[in-house]
Amino acid sequence: MLTILFDGIAYGMLLFVLACGLSITLGLMNFINLAHGSFAMAGGYCTVILVNRLGVPFALGLPIAFLITAALGGLFERTLYVHVYARNHLDQVLFTIGLVFMSVAAVDYVMGSSQQFVLIPEALQGQFIVFGVGMSKYRLLIILICGLLTVGLQLMIAKTRFGSRLRAAVDDQRVARGLGINVGAVFTLTFAFGSGLAGLGGALGAEILGLDPTFPLKFLIYFLIVVTVGGTSSITGPFLASILLGIADVAGKYYVPKLGAFVIYTIMILVLIWRPQGLFARSAAR
């Protein structure tokens, strides 16, 4: 039972790392980026190439994947996304779906269509047994990394100057610009960072979620659920939403395997009926 809780928390935190970039860009730039999953996939494939083919140690492969994906995100933001900010939501949806199609086909062409497996080090295989509760070592690592990231993110947003600029830009872009904050730079950095996080999530998640060219489409729905339920006005919203969804999904599948997949969709629809702006958002509708 506790193992299930543990598993659910690990799964939830993984979802959070994957989805929080999406939540930030949606809240900050009011931009629906359905191609978020493509950055996650990119991070996963980077790690596969680094660790499996180039022999880079896993511990190093993760941060490198983060940096590469962040750079990719920044590049795309400056060259492509910036043209689409002012458009309506339909255009954004179409644009990003187009990018998803292109990324799926491109990765398929370059890397082939089969499942990719990351060779994780010996030390991370197997589990600890603590007071009779089995805890997988790899999942423990996920909880650790994601926990640190969350704390770091929260600190950055609350305590640093960049964080306050970010919060200002989220609250009111025009006034922030009027105060001399370089909103364009904030956007680029935030987008890059969010994409980097997605890449890290993809790299970490390859072991648990699998990795193949159709990853962005398969998991799009999960990211969107986290963002919808968690709202976009804070970090804690999606965090709590991910944990909730992770536990609900895992527990649902354990106790009632027949209804396993329904749990997550049902929660989403119920939440949307009750509070359309998300469970944890401020009441100011966006």
């Binding site: 598993d7 499942q115 497996f117 197997g126 589990q127 997988s136 999960y222 599948k253 396993g260 997949a261």
Partner: protein, 392 residues
Amino acid sequence: MVRSYFLVAAAVALGLSAADTAFAQDTVKIGFILPMTGQQQSTGKQEAAAIKLYMAQHGDTVAGKKIELIIRDDAAVPDNTKRIAQELIVNDKVTFLAGFGVTPAALSVAPLSAESKTPEIVTAAGTSIITEKSLYIARTSFTLAQSTVPMADWAADNGIKKVVTMISDYAPGVDAEKSFTAEFKKKGGDVLESIRFPLANPDFAPFLQRAADQKPDAIFVFVPSGQGGTFVKQFVERGLDKAGIKIIGPGDVMDDDLITGMGDAVIGTVTAHLYSADHDSALNKAFVAAFKKANDGMRPNFMAVSGYDGMHLIYEALKKTGGKTDGDSLIEAIKGMAWESPRGPISIDAQTRDIIQNIYIRKVEKKNGELYNVEFATFPAVKDPVKAAEQK
């Protein structure tokens, strides 16, 4: 509207191209419908490579006729398959329809095959009932039951008494569960629970935990080809191998294409299947070498060998009929055909038109730095158990 003009221009161009230039009667066209895109694309890739290899090795002339190969992508969507099949029959006038990556694709084309008397050679799909849907269907791939029933027999004979079955909740998975459970129980075994998880399943953890809590001797697993590695890794991650639980299942989960990438965690997994790239015969060694050479070192898997044998079937059928291309003669020629395939000896059942082949029990071992399914026991000449049971 400029778009109207676009439409007119496109229509005229299409009209011109649709004009069917009559080919000489000396060409035999084979229409392969394979999933080259979508979730099943690895099947399409393997089969297309194998088909082309066969043609390269055996030439493109048989019994005085020139062979023309047409490969079309249906993305494993049955609506597409049916439409493409209709077009191939009506517009391209193919002599053979072949391929069919998933069961619904094969089933959707069956009425067409029957109505137009076009032989439908199934080289990938694996549900037992397919060959019953038209008198012109023959299969060179496998049925799932052919692998699961011997697996159950082997398990019962080797000290495995309690099993939990874990399958992906879709038709092939359910088939595998049913056929395994029926045979295993017949031999005195006990199936403690039948767990099914959603097809698009990100995480096996809760299900594995549930299975482990029952303390079985073995877990019988069937998942789509790509997920096998993830499943076994998570199995090992929870320490279930240390708890003495074995993994058994049809060889689909230990796909030759992917197995080396799965890592050492899968060593020791026992599966039952029709083909291993490691199969010890001169013919197979030559096949694997030629396949790797033509495809950047890609290893052939059971789908590739099925496609390869499908081509062989077509060529031999034409030779036997002396070049006659009507469906009835071809199907008569196909019934009862037997030959040595890279997988071992195979034949086509004269009554059911389904494949009869050896099923091998194999274990994953490391050889020369790569992982292979090494065969150690054989069930010879296995007919499809589902139809065999009905015949009795």
